[in-house]
Symmetry: D3
Subunit: 311 residues, 6 copies
């Protein structure tokens, strides 16, 4: 089971200039073979299918716990894409049927507008849907870990390239953060393999061969030590990750560290309505009115209870 906390793992900037072509590229980090849907679902299925958990508890805990962090990553990628798409459908007088999407004809992923409400999709940068073939769950622990190390390496590659391709501030905030966190997972799986077999994979770091600290947007996170910490995303479980995630960081030599709770996180921005694509409605104020009434009838306070960054 999970419980959900309505906060983001890192801070994202509010919407600025829309960038639909950039948003289409960022989709690779969502629904590509090496996107966050893949890391989330690979580790989730591997944890579901893990046999003899008690006998191999530290490894089970490691995979299951990283899976939990990955949910926060698909959430961040979605928030980034949504931020980048905000404002891409200007409405002149706000309402009349017009040509509000004419400017995005031929730009980016048309499904962002035609299928979605200027929102993220489980697709890659070519507009192809994520699919279950991207999940590897052989049940063989050494193989699954080998796969996971490879997957994180491919994911790091993709993040670096999206960084190079998309300069929008939300995309840069995203990739800066994910590069640091993905790096931790890359280390975690390498270390797990080392613990199981003795193979010293740390010599493969960094892969790709560009050090994370060279990327300006990674620096603040490194300064906070986020490149060293594995958070335990559970109140009671996954305590044995400490048995695997320890020893020196392969690049810096600093000691790796388990943090015994989830990070505090940041309130998300409440992104504005986009009436041209009916998100959340052609006339959003009507929904707001109904909602206010329902909240009132339920005895809730006048101010919405949800916490958002731009309240």
């Amino acid at each position: 089971m999970i419980v959900r906390i309505d906060r983001l793992q890192t801070e994202l900037p509010p919407p600025s200039d829309p960038d639909p072509a950039g948003a289409a590229a960022v989709q690779e980090l969502m629904g590509g073979r090496f996107g966050e849907m893949s890391t989330l679902m690979n580790y989730t299925f591997q944890s579901f299918n893990f046999r003899n958990r008690q006998g191999a508890r530290p490894f089970y805990d490691l995979i299951a716990n990283i899976a939990a962090e990955e949910f926060g990553h698909i959430e961040l990628v979605a928030a980034t894409i949504n931020t980048m798409l905000t404002g891409a459908s200007p409405t002149d007088d706000g309402k009349a049927p017009s040509a509000s999407l004419a400017k995005v004809k031929g730009v980016g992923n048309p499904h962002h507008f035609l299928a979605g409400g200027q929102g993220a999709l489980p697709q890659d940068s070519n507009g192809r849907p994520w699919n279950g073939d991207y999940v590897f769950s052989s049940g063989d622990l050494v193989e699954d870990l080998t796969h996971n190390f490879f997957l994180e390496t491919g994911a790091r590659n993709n993040k670096l390239k999206v960084y190079e391709m998309v300069e929008h501030p939300a995309a840069r905030a995203l990739t800066g953060f994910l590069l640091v966190r993905g790096g931790v997972h890359q280390i975690a799986y390498a270390r797990a393999l080392e613990r199981l077999t003795g193979a010293d994979l740390t010599k493969l770091f960094p892969a790709p061969r560009i050090p994370t600290e060279k990327i300006p947007e990674c620096k603040p996170h490194i300064d906070q030590g986020l490149h060293l910490k594995l958070f335990r995303f559970s109140p009671e479980d996954y305590r044995e990750i400490v048995a695997v995630f320890n020893g020196p960081h392969p690049e810096t030599g600093e000691e790796l560290e388990v943090v015994d709770e989830a990070p505090e996180g940041f309130a998300p921005n409440d992104l504005p309505s986009q009436p041209a694509v009916f998100a959340p409605d052609y006339a959003p104020e009507e929904i707001a009115e109904i909602a206010a009434r329902l909240r009132d009838e339920a005895g809730l306070p006048k101010k919405p209870t949800g916490v958002v960054a731009n309240a």
Copy 2:
């Protein structure tokens, strides 16, 4: 973000006679168009993409909160499939390369054995992978809710039919539970639409037209009132679901109810190794030995900290 709790939402029986053909059918509830991957990912993306959350908070909270419950459902389907596959690859002397899979040649989904370690896959009953095309996230609240009501109806259909097709005790425990919980979600989305538009969808219940209480395996859950309760799967968020999820149950007339915390859940079974498919290894005892040493070095207690039903 999520935090993960290593417990199941309902109790599943321990492995008994393996049923690989049945496990292949149960995959429909995992990776089919109306499977739990679809409910999880539809509501998750809709919550990510929800614009003007503050203005429509009760609806946002409803979708985001149900998404959280659905994670527990893919977990249950996986556990069921894994239970049903346990024991399907007998090893004579336990080790030597032999024909341990000869009996399952032509039976069930070959990927359960060739690709996985007798484990669940993100595929449907035809062995086709779940894919992102199954996600509908238009951003238009009325449409998304209409979709969700339809999705839950299709899901209920599939659960009823898997119930009829597969008699294995784990499959029956699964469908008995999911029918009750899916029914609650069906009601929640119908009620949300009613609140927004006035349309009385409760007259469509039950859909399909077979009442849930006719199914023996649903009875214990109904007796506990699980057909009436929406759990709030978050310590602090999604408080406004009460503004939508209320009023009478469309079939029984009993009052719907919000429970202000996640259910306690049940410890999962630790399913035994299946060495013929190398899950978690050809020689699982070696991993256990390494794990014991690592746990010791990390100062963990001798007994694994993880809680399982069959410790």
Copy 3:
């Protein structure tokens, strides 16, 4: 535009012993690369996309007209599959949730039961969906005709093999008829190519090299001359097919013939409800009651106006 006539192009037997494994095989003739969805959609798109129709009218008319006949073929394949699936889900007392589908676990295409109501699907014999990649519409007339000749050849191959694989009377009635009609289309496209280029493709007949008249179930149709006739499936259009479809039949030497109207057809069987899969309902009698009332209110006669074979 089309108008629809609720009759089948050939007579099918009523349901007898169900044959779900056979029905799964017959799906190849529906949704396979060379199935009737493919012939229908290839010719339909080619007719839609045909440029300079007036300049090449006889060829346009030929393709557009054959497309119309193909609709009747997907209808026949569906009716065959539905007939073969009828009776595959016995209900003991007719109603209570039980194990009505236990017998078909692991048999045939599970989607016939889990996704459908013992009904046909746009899938092939491997349970994979028909898709638009199967459509070839280059716009180049010589190429499109070359493709169509090849497509009909592949389709004839598939029909012959389904004939050999499935002995159910409905499947045999289907393949017996389709082999004769597909043969006419194969000739039509060969002749069109011959008219355009002079290439004598009739020397390729029969392809595969097994003569149609060797197949007992084809004989009655051949005796009626159905192997020689191209029906004009339009009240006013496609009159110029006579300019292409003429000359001797490549195998028998008999003169080909254009029939200036659609065939009369046969009333379809009204297949019985299958309540175990809720088709058309868990309690079909309730729907019948409502329908009777609605019909009454609309001033329709007591007896349903639809014409079925087994009224």
Copy 4:
């Protein structure tokens, strides 16, 4: 069976400025999940698979009859795309191999030029093929109708957005017409559900919440009452649609109406050859010559018998 009438359900303008990027977007209305291929094939399969037709005749007739109208819709979408692509490959001297497609490199859907002859494809706006997974045919009447209502709602959403994205006159003529006709189908399915269950879905109208009459290109069709009429697309069958399609229009309150024959329709434009893509040939005049000779030999009049708008 069908018979085909070579006319369009609405009038389309002749080719003007080509718009390949727009044509790529319009593909969503053809091969997208909510495109016309989907409405056509969903209702077609549901009608094929309908069990106990006599007992539920008015509902069978409704679905089967709407399926017939949808064929005309894929025809219209194709004609629109073809119109928009006409002229996109200028040939300087008309013949010599040159760079006639250089201008469309990187613009729109490359398959319009590389795979097709500047012609429509069974693909969506991302260039992905339509596939059979988009068909829902559960056999359960209430579910199928719920699906159909949802499908029409998603289709209306897509039409509105394509309207906003593409200003080409052919696209606007198309969406203006389809919005009106799709609206009728949305009502038909809502009404059918109401008749069966009592649920008042008319309160969901319009969905999306933008009224059809606000769209200028819809107005002429509304003025002719096309938003109220369901045509019976069959000479003899589907007479019982009147038992379901009646009562007031959910938005205007006007009485719904069954028209007892197919609409007259409009002659299609004969779109000119595009020799750069060999449609219908690199040297179209040669085909025309052969066609003229064949027609002559067949005793057909000198003037082509086909009726086109621009004869």
Copy 5:
């Protein structure tokens, strides 16, 4: 460029009892994610896309050369499947249309019979086609090698499991050989990574943890030293593989060895016609007659020049 030598890399037994269900399972080794199509195409594309070949020649040579060997592996898998399918369609009197495929209804992959002529397909064990998403070619040498090591590990897993599932002598001959040769490639990529980074991956061997020599069908190949040899599959090129492929075998400690030419190979069996599926014809003797005449006219000797095992 390649030149092709019509011999197999190992000896396969002649057809014996057909095993269509086994043949369906063996397809995983052809078109599965870790099948031989994948190894062939991954290394082929990586060699095509290799930049700065002169600067990294030994690594380029290694990948390009292994790609060449993999072609022989898809050839072997195909020959195995074809052998296993031979005899599965008995014809009573040899010719008349009958029910020659009735026995394989519901058995194995229906496409082996309906789409093919009892022949291999580019599909996996679930009947799903191999696709280009299975190719990883990042251009980053360390990543590509990491991938290749992982790919070979997954491939070894699949071979071991097909070994356990399918006892047919052809399948056992195949897996026995492929396990030995795949093991060499696994070592080659591990060694390449070690040479580039210093990481000692040999500690991961064997992966899965079952030693190859435990498998009886591998023994003869090991006795010939095939587990140590990398053949140079080129008359002039790829000479620098010796710079990487050297040092001790990770399991046995024996010295690895480059063989400076392709192995001699074995003549393939000429598999008999299967007239029920028209392979190569319904009346194969007619083709033989034509071939004999053509050969005669071309001045070829009376006896076919091709070398087959069972001439």
Copy 6:
């Protein structure tokens, strides 16, 4: 088996101005339904699956031998795409993480940069992966040859259109060559069908109806007689192709000719590193250094042994 020769079948120009949009279009010739992956894999599987080879030797030899030539074609398409992508990611100071891919955001196929290292992919011009459904291998010789003739016709169409769309010198060199060689294969399959059945398909030439000699880039190859020659791509095998490939060229009347060995070919260009996409590394000089050392240790000469055009 194959042996591989590290040379190209035709000469390609060195990199000039990058053309990522053009490279995306050229992908159709790689991974499209009619691309070179399709010709390679169709003929390869048909040769693998050919039954009664001795009885039909000339036809087996023809298909098997053309398959071998096609490998050289996928190699050429890859080299072309790689050439066109070279230089598309300028690095300012060569190293620091920057925005080297900003210029290609929204241009061409994003996977060329995000998934690959500015390298070719097994995808089509819409970014969709090649898949095994594109392979037709019925086992029926007449059908397979009919298919192959059709496939080559579709392939010629695609090459002509890519020629028209992409003016980059590498693309023109590619299409000029492939049109000539594809033409030979088109003739070969037409002739084979003629030999088997008597059908004179040469009247369909040229298809599409634009003569190859009209294309300037084809002229040099025609001048060398490449339109007449079938090379035997095997040292010992496939000698019987002469029994089929003979007689006059359908367009020019010149005698067709079998060349008894593979062409000599041309050394490929060694394309430069693209460090912004880490191909072959972020710091390529480090790999070069390691390679030099390894080569030295292996006793190889100082100069790389590989032969490249731009050494």
